[in-house]
Every structure is written in structure tokens, then in C-alpha cells.
């Protein structure tokens, strides 16, 4: 599969919004019921009030939910045509996702959580993983079960796990909601660096505490 250069939305609307499709929340949206594209290597921050469907948007793009009307295209291909095997390939080497609720396995250690992904992609060396943890001053937590980390620590571990793969776009659903400004800046730097190295697009959602990047296109959901 070739690299994904654009993610396009053609008249997309979550099915739960069918009843309220003429409300201002939908008509003002740049994404819902619109013709809209995200291009690589652009940087997008999707601003949204909670309950407007930004997590749904991430799930639609990541192929684990299909309850929407309209069409989402990767390049020119409708993503509804992808098989499970296609999606597995996409999730390993084209799209990286950091879900809002992180989805770390609490019984595995921070290190194991990261390796669980890296084993699949073989993208980073263990040494590199340790270095990234050091950036966040978390290397000493390597062998601590993820369930015993604070939410903020979990968020940073989950971010490193998300970076353990090649990607064309990285989807970050409120990646810094539990981070202070200093860690937010470190996270932004790390993401920008990885995306630049891979000439990848960055798609970040935010309800209040946005990722500290300066050069981005704001999108209203």
C-alpha cells in the first residue's frame, strides 16, 4: 500500500447526529456534512467542544467504527472497502493513534506496554525507547505496571507507544489533557520531530489544553 497523502471527508456525519443535522453545531462544522481534506504533511488542530464527535472522528479514520453516513477517503480510496487485514497493515505502518483514554494495559509495565507495539512494527530500538522515556523523566518507571502510574505519566507512556511505528498521519486525541505546560512542550517537540522525520501529517484534537505547536491549521468541528 502506498503512503496516505490525503484524508478526505465527503458529506460525513455520525449516525447519532442524523436527527440534529440542521443544528448550528453541524452547519458550522468544517468537517461534518462538508467536503474537507487533511493533507500530508500538514498540521491540524481540531478544536471542538466536548460531545461534538471528535473521538468518533478519530475512530472513523482509524477504522474501528463505521457508524457514519457519507464517505471517508484515503487518497482516492473509500475506507469502507478496506478489509480487516488492510486495517491491520494501516495501523502498523500508515496511521498512528493516541486514543483519548490511552488504552494502556494496566497489568503490563510501562516498558511492556511500549514493547507490545514496537514488537509488531520493530520500529525503535529499546535504547531509543529508554531515551524517549528519559525525555519525560520516566525511565525509572520502565518496570512499573502502567496501572500504578499517574494519569499524566500514563499519557506520556502512551504517546511514546504511539510513536513506535512508521506513519503517514498521526492522530492524537487530546494528547496533553493531563500534562503541565513543560511536559506539553516536550511532547509537542517529540511529535513534531517524529512527524518531520517521516514527512507525516499531524492531526490533534483539543477541547481546551491544546498541544503546544505554533504552525498549524485550525479546524472547527
Amino acid at each position: 500500500m502506498q503512503r496516505i497523502d490525503s484524508i478526505s471527508f465527503r458529506n460525513v456525519l455520525p449516525q447519532v447526529f442524523r436527527e440534529v443535522s440542521d443544528s448550528t453545531a453541524i452547519t458550522d462544522s468544517q468537517v461534518w456534512l462538508a467536503d474537507f481534506s487533511l493533507k500530508r504533511p500538514g498540521q491540524y488542530i481540531i478544536e471542538a467542544a466536548s460531545g461534538t464527535g471528535k473521538s468518533s472522528l478519530c475512530s472513523f479514520m482509524y477504522g474501528n467504527r463505521h457508524d457514519y453516513d457519507g464517505h471517508i477517503l484515503f487518497n482516492q480510496t473509500d475506507i469502507r472497502s478496506f478489509s480487516m487485514e488492510d486495517w491491520c497493515r494501516i495501523r502498523r505502518s500508515h496511521l498512528a493513534l493516541l486514543p483519548q483514554e490511552m488504552r494502556l494495559f494496566p497489568e503490563l509495565t510501562a516498558g511492556e506496554n511500549i514493547l507490545l507495539k514496537n514488537r509488531l512494527t520493530d520500529f525503535m530500538t529499546e535504547e531509543r525507547i529508554h531515551r524517549l522515556l528519559e525525555v519525560f523523566e520516566l525511565d525509572h518507571k520502565y518496570n512499573v505496571p502502567a496501572g500504578r502510574l499517574s494519569i499524566g505519566q500514563q499519557q506520556r507512556v502512551a504517546l511514546i507507544r504511539t510513536l513506535c511505528q512508521p506513519f503517514d498521519f498521526i492522530l492524537l486525541d487530546e494528547p496533553v489533557s493531563h500534562l503541565d505546560a513543560a511536559n506539553n512542550a516536550l511532547a509537542a517537540q517529540m511529535i513534531l520531530h517524529e512527524a518531520a522525520a517521516q514527512q507525516a501529517g499531524i492531526i490533534v484534537t483539543s477541547v481546551g489544553n491544546p498541544l503546544l505547536i505554533t504552525d498549524y491549521t485550525p479546524v472547527t468541528l
Binding site: 474501528n64 480487516m84 495501523r91 507495539k117 511505528q165
Partner: protein, 396 residues
């Protein structure tokens, strides 16, 4: 690492419960299959369980018998044909009676004995023994020895009934074969004496039998041309399964009697295989229930692991990569069950080999039991794999 994650919710009691239940079910099925093939081997093995598959039939003598044998106690050609057409009748042989007078003479311990006698013959393939010197070719010049096969019962009658009562010596089978006999045949104006010899004892035939070739020749020579040839009064039937109820039913409908209690022993084998079949069914029911336990367990396990499975697949793990871990678990458990059940079957069958050998029943090869075990476990495993795959893919 993935396995560490997935094995957390595996319920050891559920898996053990399934394994024990399925082991019991499969062990019962395999043991019953082995037992069935063991007793069935005797049933189809011809002579090993003497004459269980041969029935000698006749018609009951009516209350008032009118003179000589008549149509009430003989079989017409149509009746014989009808018998041959029955699905359970493999072969039907006719007893040919002697249409002449026979008497036998022998010298034993200096005493001369003679007795009036009769001969019967049946085709050679119905004998349970193949005695030496059974071939007989007509040759009036050299007077070939007439070979005779006698019922074992007759010898027993003589040895344990007649001889002690009359102060006569008992005779073994070996000795009687060496006693020179003379048979005198008379009829149609001929009277001839032939040397004869008892060449064997049959436990299947309750008669005094001579080779079919001799009988045909003798009937030709000594039959009074005025007396018509008698239709046969007794038949020997080779049957597939002597205990088959269809046989008993047919005989009752047509007023036919079975000699001895051979049908009874056949019925015992038949009954035994019916019981075995019931046991197989019970075993299969237990196995099926056990499989339900496993299915339920897999279902619950998947349910409990739903979030983990989803998250793993969100990371890019394919459904197949995840299924493999469960395949391994189920495959290993099922293999262990198969090995355990086969072990049980071998131990159980070794326990009954001795009593069976005492009954002159040779054991059968365990191939069928092994094959059914492999087949059943393969089917169960395939069903399990299919369910796991379906459930995992559902959570994608």
C-alpha cells in the same frame, strides 16, 4: 507478552471441567468402539466362534406325521429361493439325504458291531472343518475309502452315555479315525460294501455327513427308480448376524425351526452390540455436552477479554495473531484429551482381552478406535477454532 495479557481471564476450573468431561465422554466412546470391533471381529471371523453365523433350519414335525417325510417337513424350491433372497442370508446350503439303505459294521475289541445308519451331505463350503481325505471320487474297482464327518455330539453320546452303560471302552477322536469301518449300501437291486473312515467331528453339523460327490454318486446308483427324489428337509444358512430380529421374525412367519441354540448365542452377540451402540451414544452425548461447556467457556473468556482484544487490534495486531494464542491453548487441551482417552481405551481393552480370549475371541486392531478418536477431536478442534475466529473478528 500478549499471552500474559490474554491468559489472565482464562478460567482454569472451566477448562479443567471441559477437559475432564470431554475425557470421560471420549474415553467411553473410544472404549465402546474398541469393544464393538472386538466382539464384531468374532462375529465376522467365520470359524473362530464356532458356527455362530451358520444356522441349521428345519420344519417342525406335525402332531400326526403321515408315513414318510412329506411336504409339511420339507422345503420346496420356491421356499429355498425365498430364503436365498433374504438380505440376511449370505448362503443357503441344502442337506441331501440318502435315498438308499445304509448300515455300518465295525470290529472293536474283538466284538463285532453293526448298526443301521443314514447319510447326509452338504456343500463343502459349509463345513467348519476341512478333514484330510475329504475328496472322494467314484471308483468301483479300487473301492476308495468313504470319508465320514460325524457330529461331536454323537461321540459324546457314545462316550458318556452308551459306553459306560454297556461296559464298552471310551474312544477318543484320534482312535476312532483309525478304526476300520465298513459301510454297506443297498438299494435299486445293488448291495455293496465299502471301507469307510471317520475323518473328523463337526460341532456345526448335527448329522453323519459324507462328501457331496459321494452322495450324488450313491443316490444315482442305489435309488429305487420308482421312488421320487425327496426334497430337502434341512437347510444350512450362513447369515450376517445370527441375532438379527428379522431372522427370528422370518422363521416364525414361515414355521421354520432353528437347530440348537445357535440363534441364541447369536442373539447374545447382537444384544451386546446393541448395548455397545447405546454406550457409544451416551459417550457422544457426554462429549457433546463437554463441547458445549468449552464453547461457553470460550464465549465467556472472549467476553471478559473483549476490551483487551479490541485494544490489541487497535495497536495493529491482526485477529489471526490473537487467535493463534487461543488455538494453541485449545489445541493443546484437545490433544491431551485425545491422548488420555486413547490411554484409557488401551488399558480398558487390555483388561477384557483375557476373558475374551477365554471365550475364543481374538481382539481386533485398535485402528478404528484410534481413527474415531482422531476424527472426533479434529471435528471438535475445528469447531473451537471456527468459534474463536468468529468471536475475535467480531471484536475488531
Amino acid at each position: 507478552m500478549v499471552w500474559n495479557l490474554l491468559k489472565k481471564n482464562i478460567s482454569a476450573p472451566q477448562i479443567t471441567g471441559y477437559a475432564v468431561a470431554n475425557l470421560i465422554g471420549l474415553a467411553i466412546v473410544l472404549t465402546a468402539v474398541k469393544f464393538y470391533t472386538d466382539i464384531h471381529s468374532t462375529w465376522t471371523a467365520g470359524d473362530s466362534f464356532v458356527s455362530t453365523d451358520y444356522l441349521v433350519v428345519s420344519k417342525p414335525v406335525p402332531l400326526i406325521a403321515t408315513g414318510a417325510a412329506n411336504s409339511a417337513t420339507t422345503f420346496s424350491d420356491a421356499e429355498i429361493e425365498d430364503l436365498r433372497a433374504q438380505p440376511w442370508a449370505q448362503q443357503v446350503g441344502v442337506f441331501t439325504g440318502s435315498d438308499y439303505n445304509v448300515s455300518a459294521h465295525l470290529e472293536l475289541g474283538g466284538r463285532h458291531m453293526s448298526t443301521a445308519l443314514f447319510f447326509e451331505s452338504i456343500p463343502d463350503e459349509f463345513y467348519d472343518i476341512t478333514p484330510a481325505g475329504w475328496d472322494w471320487t467314484p471308483d468301483t474297482c479300487n473301492l476308495p475309502v468313504v470319508p465320514i464327518v460325524m457330529s461331536k455330539d454323537y461321540l459324546a453320546l457314545y462316550n458318556y452315555g452308551f459306553a459306560p452303560a454297556r461296559g464298552m471302552p471310551q474312544i477318543s477322536e484320534n482312535i476312532i479315525g483309525r478304526v476300520p469301518l465298513t459301510v454297506a449300501l443297498a438299494g435299486n437291486g445293488h448291495y455293496d460294501r465299502y471301507p469307510a473312515k471317520i475323518v473328523g467331528f463337526s460341532s456345526r453339523l448335527n448329522t453323519i455327513a459324507v462328501p457331496q460327490t459321494f452322495m450324488e454318486w450313491a443316490n444315482e446308483r442305489y435309488r429305487d427308480s420308482l421312488t421320487p427324489h425327496e426334497p430337502p428337509g434341512r437347510l444350512i444358512i450362513k447369515v450376517n448376524s445370527p441375532g438379527d430380529p428379522a431372522i427370528t421374525e422370518y422363521f416364525e412367519e414361515n414355521g421354520i425351526e432353528v437347530g440348537g441354540d445357535k440363534a441364541g448365542s447369536g442373539r447374545a452377540v447382537y444384544l451386546m452390540s446393541v448395548v455397545t451402540a447405546v454406550v457409544v451414544v451416551v459417550g457422544i452425548i457426554i462429549t457433546v455436552l463437554a463441547v458445549f461447556i468449552l464453547m461457553l467457556s470460550i464465549f465467556l473468556l472472549m467476553q471478559k477479554n473483549r476490551e483487551k482484544l479490541r485494544d490489541l487490534m487497535l495497536l495493529g495486531y491482526s485477529p489471526h495473531q490473537i487467535c493463534v494464542y487461543y488455538y494453541r491453548l485449545v489445541g493443546f487441551v484437545n490433544l491431551a484429551i485425545l491422548v488420555g482417552a486413547l490411554l484409557f481405551m488401551f488399558i480398558a481393552s487390555s483388561l477384557w482381552q483375557k476373558p475374551l480370549r477365554a471365550l475364543d475371541i481374538a481382539g481386533s486392531s485398535p485402528l478404528w478406535a484410534i481413527l474415531s478418536g482422531v476424527l472426533i477431536i479434529s471435528l471438535i478442534t475445528a469447531l473451537n477454532f471456527f468459534t474463536i475466529r468468529r468471536l475475535v473478528r467480531r471484536y475488531f
